[in-house]
C-alpha cells in the first residue's frame, strides 16, 4: 500500500519531472481532483495575504484539499496529492519556490502515513498538523530576523536586491532595535520591485537609495554587506532568485563583500541546477536572436537566475545560520530516511 521509503523512491518522485517534460506549455489537466480547483485556492491565499509566500500558500492549499477530499486509502491520498501538486505546478508560472513547499508537504504526509496504522486517525492528524506545519512556516520569517540581527551593525551600508519579505523583515527588526544603517536597493528590472522595498523601508524611517541594476558595480565599493532573498535554495546551497542576483553576487565576491542569503528553510528545494539553463525555461525568447525590432523584448527577458554556492558567504535561515554545505546536509537529512 504505502510507497516504499527507500532513498530511491525519493528520487523517483516528480521533483525533477517538470524539468524534463517541460509541462509549462501543456494545457492544465482538468480531472485531477474533482470539484476542487487547487490553482484558484492557491491564488486566493496569495491575494488575501500579501505577507504569504508561495510555498506556504501551496501548503495551505494542499491542507484545504486534504480536509475536503475523502480518499479511502493511503496510496489514493498520495495519488490525489501528487495530482494536485502537478496541477499546481502547471497552473502557476515560476513554480520553483512553490514546488519546494509541495515537496516538503508530500514528504510530511508520507512520513505521517507510515507512522499511523489507523487510516482515519492519520487523516485527522494530518489536517490538524498541516495547520501546525503552516504556523511554523509562517513564523520562520520572524525567527530568521532574530538570527540575522547580529549581522547588521551600526553605520552599515547594506545592499539589497529587488524585494524579499525575509530581508525586509530582518531590516525592520534591526531598525526597531535601534541599529542605524543605510540601504541601497536595486530597482530590479523588469518588475521594479525594488521601488516597493524602498517605500517600505522609508515608511519605517530607514534611509534608502534606489539605484538602477547597472549601478551595482558603482555602489559596491561603498557597501559593507549584501543581503539577498531567495525563491529557492538548491541542494548545492546555491540560490535561485530574481534576475540580477548572480551579477550582484559576482561583484560582491570580487570586492570581498560578504553576501548573505536570507531564506526560510521551506524554500530548500530538491533541485541541483548547474546553470540558469537547468531551471524551467519561462522565457524561451531570451535565448533566440533576431534582426527585427521587437516590442515586448524587455517583457520576455528572463526573471530568474542561479547563483552558485561559492559566491555565498552564509545563509540565514530559521534553522540557523548555515554554510552552503550545511544546506545540502539539511536537505539530505530531510529527505533521507
Amino acid at each position: 500500500m504505502i510507497k516504499s521509503a527507500s532513498p530511491r523512491s525519493v528520487y523517483d518522485t516528480d521533483i525533477m519531472a517538470p524539468l524534463e517534460t517541460s509541462p509549462w506549455t501543456q494545457p492544465p489537466d482538468s480531472g485531477a481532483a474533482e470539484g476542487f480547483d487547487i490553482v484558484a485556492t492557491y491564488r486566493k491565499f496569495l491575494d488575501e495575504d500579501p505577507d504569504m509566500t508561495m510555498p506556504v500558500a501551496a501548503i495551505e492549499s494542499l491542507v484545504v484539499l486534504l480536509s475536503q477530499t475523502e480518499p479511502t486509502t493511503a496510496s489514493e491520498l498520495m495519488d490525489t496529492l501528487a495530482k494536485a501538486v502537478t496541477e499546481l505546478k502547471r497552473g502557476v508560472k515560476n513554480s520553483i519556490s512553490l514546488s519546494a513547499g509541495c515537496d516538503m508537504f508530500q514528504r510530511f504526509v508520507l512520513r505521517n502515513i507510515q507512522e499511523y496504522g489507523d487510516w482515519e486517525a492519520c487523516r485527522r492528524h494530518l489536517v490538524k498538523n498541516g495547520g501546525l506545519f503552516l504556523e511554523r512556516a509562517k513564523a520562520s520569517r520572524y525567527k530568521i530576523a532574530e538570527l540575522g540581527l547580529p549581522f547588521i551593525q551600526d553605520d552599515d551600508t547594506i545592499l539589497i536586491h529587488s524585494h524579499s519579505r525575509a530581508v525586509t523583515e530582518l531590516l525592520l527588526l534591526a531598525a526597531r532595535r535601534h541599529i542605524r544603517f543605510r540601504v541601497y536597493i536595486t530597482e530590479s528590472r523588469p518588475t521594479g520591485e525594488g521601488l516597493s522595498s524602498a517605500k517600505t523601508l522609508r515608511d519605517n524611517s530607514i534611509p534608502a537609495r534606489v539605484i538602477v541594476d547597472g549601478a551595482v558595480g558603482w555602489a559596491i565599493q561603498k557597501v559593507d554587506k549584501v543581503f539577498i532573498g531567495a525563491e529557492g535554495v538548491a541542494e548545492s546551497g546555491g540560490i535561485i532568485n530574481r534576475i540580477g542576483t548572480y551579477q550582484i553576487a559576482v561583484l560582491a565576491k570580487d570586492s570581498n563583500k560578504p553576501l548573505y542569503v536570507v531564506a526560510e528553510s521551506h524554500k530548500f528545494v530538491r533541485l541541483f541546477p548547474l546553470s540558469p539553463f537547468d531551471l524551467p525555461n519561462e522565457s524561451p525568447n531570451a535565448s533566440t536572436f533576431t534582426t527585427e525590432p521587437e516590442d515586448d523584448e524587455i517583457q520576455s527577458s528572463p526573471l530568474l537566475d542561479f547563483t552558485s554556492d561559492n559566491l555565498i558567504t552564509a545563509l540565514i535561515t530559521d534553522i540557523g545560520v548555515l554554510t552552503s554545505s550545511g544546506v545540502s546536509e539539511e536537505l539530505i537529512k530531510m529527505w533521507y530516511d
Partner: protein
C-alpha cells in the same frame, strides 16, 4: 616486505651482516619457509665446495665457501620476498642467475604470466617520494596456502593482470567469489560459523591483497560482510547460515551496485541535452551507461573520450559507444587542451570519494577536472555511495597504488606488448620510472556528485557516510 628485501642490496656482502639479514628475513613469515629451504641448499653446496677444495688441496678455507653460498641464498631470499613465486625453482648453482633474471625481466607485459617485479634491482629503481608505497603484484599462485579457495586464486590473478579492473567491477567480482567460498565452507569441529568464517575470509582477503591493494568499494563491502557474519546466530544451522549469507551478498550487489547504477544513470542522463559535447576520461562503467541511456533516449550529443597510458581503458569505452551509434572522438590526455574548447560538460567516474570531498580516481582525472574548471565547464562525477570512504587525504602521495614500471616501457597500443626506447631502463642507473595509478581531485573542481541517494556537492559526502552508518 620491501624493507626486508631492500636491505640486502645495500649491505656489503660479509658473513656477519648476511647472517643478521637472514635472521631478519626469517621473522617475515611468508618468505621464511623458502628462505630456510634455500639456506639448507646453500649450506649443502658449501659443504660440497669445501669437500672439493679439500680433495684438490686448495688453499680456500671452507669458511669462505660457506659465505659465498650464503650470499647466493640471500639473493634468492630477496627475490622470494618480493613476490616472485618461482624463486625456489631457480637452481642453487651459480650467482649469475641473478643477472639472468634481470635480463629476462626486461620485457614484461600486462598479461598474467609476466613477472613484473624482480628482486632487489626494482627496489633501487623506486622513485624517492613514493618509496613508502608497496609494489604488490603477484604473478602466480604456486605459493598459495592450501586453504585459499580456487575462486580466490583465479580472482587474484585476474586482479594482478588487470583483467578485472574498475572499483565496482572488482567489488562485484570479490563478492561473487566470496559467495563461492561461503558455499564451499564447512565449519571445523569445535568452533562456530560466526567466529571461524570471518577468519577464513580474512585469509582469502590477505591473499587477494597480494595482487593489488583492496579498493575502497571492496573494503566497504568486506566490512559489511564481516558484520553480517558476526551477527549470525549460533542456533542457526550451517546450511541455513550459508544460504542466508549468500542471499544477503546477492542483495548487496543488487542494491549497492546494480540498482544504484541504474538510479545514477536515470539522474545523470538529465544533464545531457541536444547538441552537447561531453568529455569523459578513461573508462567508467556508470558513465558509459549514462551515455548509452542518453543515446537510447534519442538525445543528439557527442562524446570526447580522453584516454591515458598505460592501460588505455578509454579505448574499450569508445569502442562500446561507437558500436551503439554514438558520435565519438578519442584523444590522449596530451591533447586535452585542444579538445576542451567545444566541451559543454565533463563526466567522470570514481574509484573513491573521500570524506573531505576529494575524488580519488584514475591518474589524470585531476588534470582533466582542473582544465575543465579553468574553462568554467561543469564537472559531474557519477559515483555509487559504496565508493564513499571515511578517509581524509590531502594529496595523492600519502596513499596511492603503484603499477609495474615496466608497463610504462611498453609502447604497444594493442594487447601485444612492445618494448619502446625505454627497453633498457633498468640498466640506466639514473633513470627511474613511476607508474602511479591514482590521483586526487580537489573538491573545488567538482560541481556535482551524482549518487543513487541523490545529487550532492562534494562537501556533502560526510553527510551521506554518517546517515548511512546511523541507518
Amino acid at each position: 616486505m620491501p624493507e626486508a628485501s631492500a636491505k640486502p642490496a645495500g649491505v656489503p656482502l660479509g658473513t656477519q651482516t648476511t647472517k643478521t639479514q637472514q635472521q631478519k628475513g626469517k621473522d617475515k613469515n611468508s618468505a621464511g619457509a623458502q628462505e630456510a629451504k634455500a639456506m639448507r641448499k646453500a649450506e649443502k653446496a658449501a659443504r660440497r665446495a669445501a669437500k672439493v677444495s679439500e680433495l684438490g688441496k686448495s688453499s680456500t678455507p671452507p669458511q669462505e665457501a660457506i659465505a659465498l653460498a650464503r650470499v647466493q641464498s640471500q639473493t634468492k631470499q630477496s627475490r622470494a620476498a618480493s613476490g616472485t613465486s618461482n624463486a625456489g625453482s631457480v637452481g642453487g648453482g651459480s650467482s649469475n642467475s641473478v643477472v639472468n633474471a634481470t635480463a629476462s625481466s626486461a620485457i614484461s607485459s600486462l598479461t598474467a604470466q609476466s613477472t613484473a617485479i624482480h628482486g632487489s634491482d626494482i627496489l633501487d629503481k623506486r622513485v624517492g617520494l613514493f618509496k613508502h608505497l608497496e609494489i604488490t603484484r603477484r604473478s602466480g599462485t604456486a605459493d598459495a596456502a592450501k586453504d585459499i579457495h580456487p575462486a580466490i586464486l583465479a580472482l587474484t590473478l585476474q586482479f594482478a593482470s588487470y583483467t578485472v579492473i574498475g572499483s565496482s567491477a572488482r567489488c562485484r567480482a570479490t563478492l561473487r567469489a566470496f559467495q563461492t567460498v561461503i558455499k564451499d565452507y564447512r565449519t571445523p569441529v569445535g568452533t562456530t560459523l560466526s567466529r571461524n568464517l570471518t577468519n577464513h575470509l580474512s585469509r582469502q582477503i590477505d591473499f587477494l591483497k597480494t595482487a593489488r591493494p583492496l579498493s575502497i568499494t571492496m573494503g566497504n563491502a568486506i566490512r559489511w560482510l564481516k558484520q553480517e557474519i558476526s551477527v549470525v546466530s549460533i542456533d542457526v544451522s550451517d546450511d541455513q547460515a550459508r544460504e542466508s549469507l549468500i542471499e544477503k551478498i546477492e542483495t548487496y550487489i543488487r542494491d549497492k551496485i546494480e540498482v544504484a547504477d541504474r538510479v545514477i544513470v536515470q539522474s545523470a542522463v538529465k544533464h545531457i541535452g541536444n547538441g552537447d559535447v561531453i568529455l569523459a576520461f578513461s573508462r567508467s562503467a556508470v558513465v558509459e551507461q549514462v551515455f548509452l541511456e542518453a543515446n537510447l533516449r534519442g538525445i543528439e550529443f557527442s562524446v570526447v573520450v580522453v584516454d591515458t597510458r598505460p592501460f588505455y581503458e578509454g579505448k574499450e569505452m569508445v569502442r562500446r559507444l561507437a558500436r551503439a551509434g554514438l558520435k565519438c572522438e578519442y584523444v590522449l590526455i596530451s591533447g586535452l587542451s585542444y579538445v576542451l574548447n567545444d566541451i559543454t560538460s565533463v563526466f567522470l567516474g570514481a574509484h573513491a570519494v573521500l570524506s573531505n570531498g576529494q575524488l580519488y580516481s584514475r591518474v589524470g582525472t585531476a588534470l582533466v577536472a582542473m582544465s575543465a574548471k579553468r574553462k568554467n565547464i561543469p564537472v559531474i562525477v557519477c559515483c555509487e555511495s559504496i565508493k564513499f570512504s571515511n578517509r581524509v587525504q590531502l594529496d595523492s602521495v600519502t596513499f596511492n597504488e603503484l603499477g609495474s614500471p615496466d608497463d610504462l616501457m611498453n609502447i604497444s597500443i594493442d594487447s601485444a606488448p612492445k618494448p619502446g626506447p625505454l627497453k633498457n631502463w633498468r640498466d640506466l642507473p639514473n633513470l627511474k620510472l613511476l607508474n602511479i595509478l591514482y590521483d586526487l581531485t580537489p573538491p573545488e573542481y567538482i560541481k556535482k556528485i551524482v549518487t543513487e541517494v541523490g545529487s550532492l556537492p562534494p562537501s556533502s559526502v560526510p553527510v551521506i557516510i554518517r546517515e548511512y552508518n546511523s541507518a
